[in-house]
């Protein structure tokens, strides 16, 4: 097994070398809220600042995804599981790193030393290098056991610090196989007693560096950042408005054979169903219009009434004037 230093992925532009605490740099920007307490969020912020400062170089990729660990028990073993399902098919993985925090010392030794009340106990019983086996396994739904995807042994010379390990091959293989629930067991050879008493900010995480091929496509920003559907599904809803029919609407205009005459792109089939809904931008923007508050609506209602009144008064005046003129 390789000695101590984990591998830094080639695409990782992060300045936080393995074993260094990324929190030692500048504090996270204000307004981040509770997520700034997570090590993974702090790490992502540092990457964001770096990309902003230097821009992404060719080969760096345009996407970095982070995945927080969820502690789970599988076959009575404590595992850290990652849900990688948010990775898109269009994202070509360049590299993936597993980040984990090594405890200062194993728990059972701590307890033993407390009992012995010997101050030098800890130094005597603390081995210079901690060997840790990282057993990665993919978990299928409704299964109590996982399929081992990779076994990596690391020798850690520094404790109480963060370490990173290149797991590109494991994540690539998991994505290729469509096995996107990945769990890791951190086996130090000690008897399993449960999860170490670590704070949430010390939970392991995975960073996946990818190149999203779909990001250059039109409207890609809405694909990932627009969270609401401007066309909510309305199948089978009896309370539909008459215009909300899901059936294809019949064209009522005159059919023109030549695209030159009808101002439509010659290679686009406008009769196809897929253009009926999601490519109508006017409707999408209509949904973005801010709704008027109740107060505003009431005021608007009053205005409308006043306008109506005014127009009636004006008409009356005109009639009166006509009558007056006749007289």
């Amino acid at each position: 097994s390789p000695p101590a230093c984990p591998v830094q992925p080639p695409a990782d532009p992060d300045s936080s070398a393995p074993g260094r605490d990324p929190r030692r740099g500048s504090p996270p920007p204000p307004g981040l809220g509770s997520i700034a307490q997570d090590m993974v969020a702090v790490h992502m912020l540092k990457l964001y600042e770096k990309y902003n400062r230097e821009g992404s170089r060719p080969g760096d990729g345009n996407t970095v995804r982070s995945f927080k660990a969820r502690p789970e028990f599988l076959a009575q073993k404590p595992l850290y599981c990652f849900n990688l399902t948010s990775m898109q098919d269009s994202e070509m993985i360049l590299a993936a790193t597993f980040h984990f925090y090594a405890d200062k010392r194993p728990r059972h030794r701590e307890v033993f030393c407390k009992r012995s009340k010997n101050s030098s106990c800890r130094l005597l019983h603390l081995p210079p290098v901690l060997q840790l086996n990282l057993v990665f396994q993919s978990i299928h739904q409704n299964s109590a056991y996982g399929l081992v995807k990779g076994n990596i042994t690391v020798l850690l010379q520094r404790r109480g610090a963060w370490h990173a390990k290149d797991i590109s091959h494991i994540v690539k293989e998991s994505k290729r196989a469509g096995e996107l629930i990945l769990c890791v067991e951190l086996d130090s050879g000690e008897k399993h007693q449960g999860f170490p008493e670590q704070v949430a900010s010390h939970l392991p995480y995975i960073l996946v560096y990818a190149n999203d091929l779909a990001i250059s496509e039109p409207n890609s920003v809405a694909g990932t950042l627009q969270r609401y559907d401007p066309f909510p599904p309305s199948d089978g809803d009896p309370n539909l408005s008459p215009n909300a029919s899901t059936e294809t609407r019949v064209r009522r205009d005159t059919y023109l054979a030549s695209s030159i005459q009808n101002n439509e792109l010659p290679e686009v089939d406008y009769s196809n169903n897929k253009y009926n809904k999601h490519d109508i931008w006017e409707n999408a923007y209509r949904s973005l219009k801010p709704k008027a508050s109740r107060k505003d609506r009431r005021r608007k209602g009053q205005e409308n009434t006043e306008t109506l009144k005014k127009s009636q008064v004006l008409n009356f005046d005109e009639k009166t004037m006509k009558k007056a003129r006749r007289k």
Partner: protein, 109 residues
């Protein structure tokens, strides 16, 4: 922006993600300078508006008036820059994406 030139040029537009309701999941930036292009591409078009050859031809056709219904060329973004966005995905994981063509650098006819 009444003092802006009538000719095609880049105009200032700052987009606040809160204004379009995306601030709940976008961590950073809160806003960015998107700019936009506006203004006329009238005949004759000066070099400053960087007209494409097609725009030059269309502008002449429009000016001559031989084909009815031909409008003036449009004032559109010519060079654009990317924007890094840090956001939370549906599983509340932090994602960093570099979106191309998010901010206008130059406009052209």
């Amino acid at each position: 922006q009444w003092n802006e030139p009538r000719i095609c040029s880049r105009r200032y537009m700052k987009v606040d993600f809160a204004d379009i309701g995306w601030n709940e999941w976008i961590i950073s930036p809160k806003s960015f300078d998107a700019y936009y292009c506006a203004g006329a591409c009238e005949f004759p078009m000066p070099k400053i508006v960087r007209p494409s050859n097609h725009a030059t031809i269309q502008s002449i056709v429009k000016a001559v008036g031989i084909i009815p219904g031909i409008p003036e060329p449009c004032c559109v973004p010519d060079k654009m820059s990317s924007l890094s966005v840090l956001f939370l995905d549906e599983n509340k994981n932090v994602v960093l994406k570099v979106y191309p063509n998010m901010s206008v650098e130059t406009c052209a006819c």
